[in-house]
Subunit: 385 residues, 2 copies
């Protein structure tokens, strides 16, 4: 199988794009990525998206976006794995290139959520959970995460304020990212004074509803030099799954699929947690940041919040996370998020992360979570020297 690298990236600002349709939003990111890579047509397009049918009455995004981007006729499909759709689409693109059946592949993650804020989006996001055993009881997706957070606080004797550092860090980094939705730093006091969404998840524990699109262009590593001197190699790409319903898991406060996919990614790449210059984790809720750090070997069980409190997750810390604002501050357009994480990782590895640059970043990890942990996609990326 062929080794695969990223030769182009593109993204739209995350926000409320009421004047831009799904296909246009996707096109903006795709066009920028193709210009960045210097390609005019690709062999295949993989679209990461979760909710276009429910929110925009539009399925069939593969053909729709391929045509709108001026590539009528090419192979194109949509990949869905709830909130992990974006990274899952990147992985399918990688498999396509690895197989030798496709040489240059585009992946675009796109989501529009704000045209229809309210019950449709809340119901749509709940589709990531188990309809027959969880959602049927009326619980929302944030409600499910609140149960996990409450249990975690109980097990480890933590208070709500222990999670503040995740949110403060995300907003500090997002403030300096021109594509972030929220660009104001917050203090611990802001965090503590925020209104509750679903106790103990407050407004500053949760990522926002938003619109956005991000794209990457992939090709075999052996061909990458023909396109750019700035390519980034995908050193590992893994997916692991778990039960969709939380009550079916052995331990509701342990992300088994994160552990499984990260462990496999470490093995494939030869890297260890301590080799990572950053970790773009899936901070849809602050509790998810803690659980991700623990499952991937950056903190002992129950110690995730301590790592944050000690400043080790900031840009100058031991393991910087959410370096461009994360889901919390950059925003979480669900099916696009996994691609944003990879685009931002490429910026870090290219040295193009601006004020948020981690000095001499050489290798990093991006992890995208579907549902409350049932699909977890991990990528390890490194600079091609």
């Amino acid at each position: 199988m062929r080794d695969v690298s990223i030769i182009g990236i593109g993204q739209t600002p995350v926000g409320e794009h009421w004047d831009t349709g799904l296909r246009q939003l996707a096109y903006h990111a795709l066009r920028d990525a193709m210009i960045d890579a210097g390609v005019e047509r690709v062999d295949a397009l993989y679209v990461g998206n979760m909710l276009s049918g429910e929110i925009s009455a539009q399925a069939h995004l593969g053909a729709l976006i391929a045509d709108f981007a001026g590539m009528r006729g090419i192979e194109a499909v949509k990949i869905e794995a709830a909130c992990a759709s974006g990274a899952a689409a990147v992985r399918q693109g990688l498999i396509g290139v690895a197989s030798g059946m496709q040489d240059v592949v585009a992946v675009v993650g796109v989501e529009k959520m704000t045209d229809n804020i309210g019950s449709k989006v809340t119901a749509g996001l709940a589709e990531a959970a188990d309809a027959d055993y969880e959602t049927v009881h009326g619980i929302s997706f944030v409600g499910l995460n609140a149960l996990v957070m409450r249990r975690y606080m109980y097990e480890y004797g933590l208070k709500h304020e222990d999670f503040a550092a995740f949110s403060v860090n995300a907003h500090a980094n997002g403030a300096k990212n021109p594509n972030a939705m929220f660009r104001s730093p917050i203090t611990e006091k802001t965090f503590l004074n925020a209104g509750m969404v679903a106790d103990p998840i407050s407004l500053f524990d949760a990522s926002p509803m938003c619109d956005g699109a991000a794209a990457v262009i992939l090709c075999p590593t052996e061909l990458a030099k023909q396109f750019t001197d700035n390519s980034v190699r995908i050193a590992a790409s893994t997916i692991a799954t778990d039960s969709v319903a939380i009550h079916d898991r052995k331990n509701p406060i342990w992300l088994q699929a994160a552990e499984d996919s990260a462990r496999q990614a470490y093995k494939l790449s030869g890297y260890k947690p301590e080799d990572m210059d950053f970790f773009e984790l899936h901070d849809a809720f602050t509790i998810m940041s803690a659980l991700s750090l623990e499952a991937c070997g950056f903190a002992e069980p129950g110690q995730g919040t301590r790592l944050a409190k000690e400043g080790e997750i900031t840009l100058g810390g031991k393991i910087p996370i959410s370096t461009m604002g994360g889901l919390k501050s950059r925003g979480h357009p669900v099916g696009a998020t996994g691609v944003y994480q990879i685009v931002e990782s490429v910026l870090q590895l290219r040295g193009d992360a601006g004020e948020n640059q981690i000095p001499n970043a050489r290798v990093g990890m991006a992890q995208n979570i579907g549902g409350s942990g049932a699909t977890i996609v991990t990528h390890i990326l490194e600079r091609n020297e």
Copy 2:
């Protein structure tokens, strides 16, 4: 890249499965395919589905079905390309095996449409069309196909009765398929007396709303003998796309993506139309049968209905189609249909098609259409000798 074969198949009867959930339905087909192949776990699961979010409030089918089938932890994603989701999922499975990243892969197509018959399903199916330029005007999916059929009849001077042979053939074959939804033969008179759905599409031009699941197990051809003596080789797998909106195409009565994907499949496999022992085409509407035969080189433009009238599409004809009843009589559970077509093709190539067996079938083609022709997936299958 590795050559890929099918080593196991499974399917549920198509019908109204009000007592069976999505995951159970998918599991029945998957279990049968895994027993057929003699495997207890697979490396990856690809799910073909279009409407689970809209109709069953359930996204995230990859992880959900993998877990319910006893394979918690494995790689699993959903593929969506409107009504072509099933065959598109088979193609992703093939790419996974071809890449060398996955050895044994399961693909399951599943759709449940009848729990919620009425506006939800009609609106859901319309998502296969262009929401901003077609559906916004209030047209349904059958309405769009009716416009195409009316134009075709006008261009070639045809009457409604000229399409009868497609429906009569489908029902004759479906009557002998224990998994078909409709198992009564019809006459030309039944066809002519049917009520209109969207003029000129009558009840017997259109495929039904239904539930069903079908599955295949794939592995490298070089390993197939270890599992079975009955494997079927995928000689070609192709996808082509077109504009989603019909008005954007050069010719609204020509399936350009069918021509493109079929031509590429002929090239990859070395076979020609005249080599095909059968053609499992996408007869969602009788007009689609005519257009498919023409675009894939079995009839000259405008001659599709003549081929049918002359009996050449029956089991004993030059190019048998819908050999197990097709979408019209076996049924069209949209995201599962493409997998049903491939399962039925394997039955023919194994010599297991019962009363519908085409004597000594050695090579055949299956073609799955998304929307009114915007995504078309073509597979050519042949017996491994």
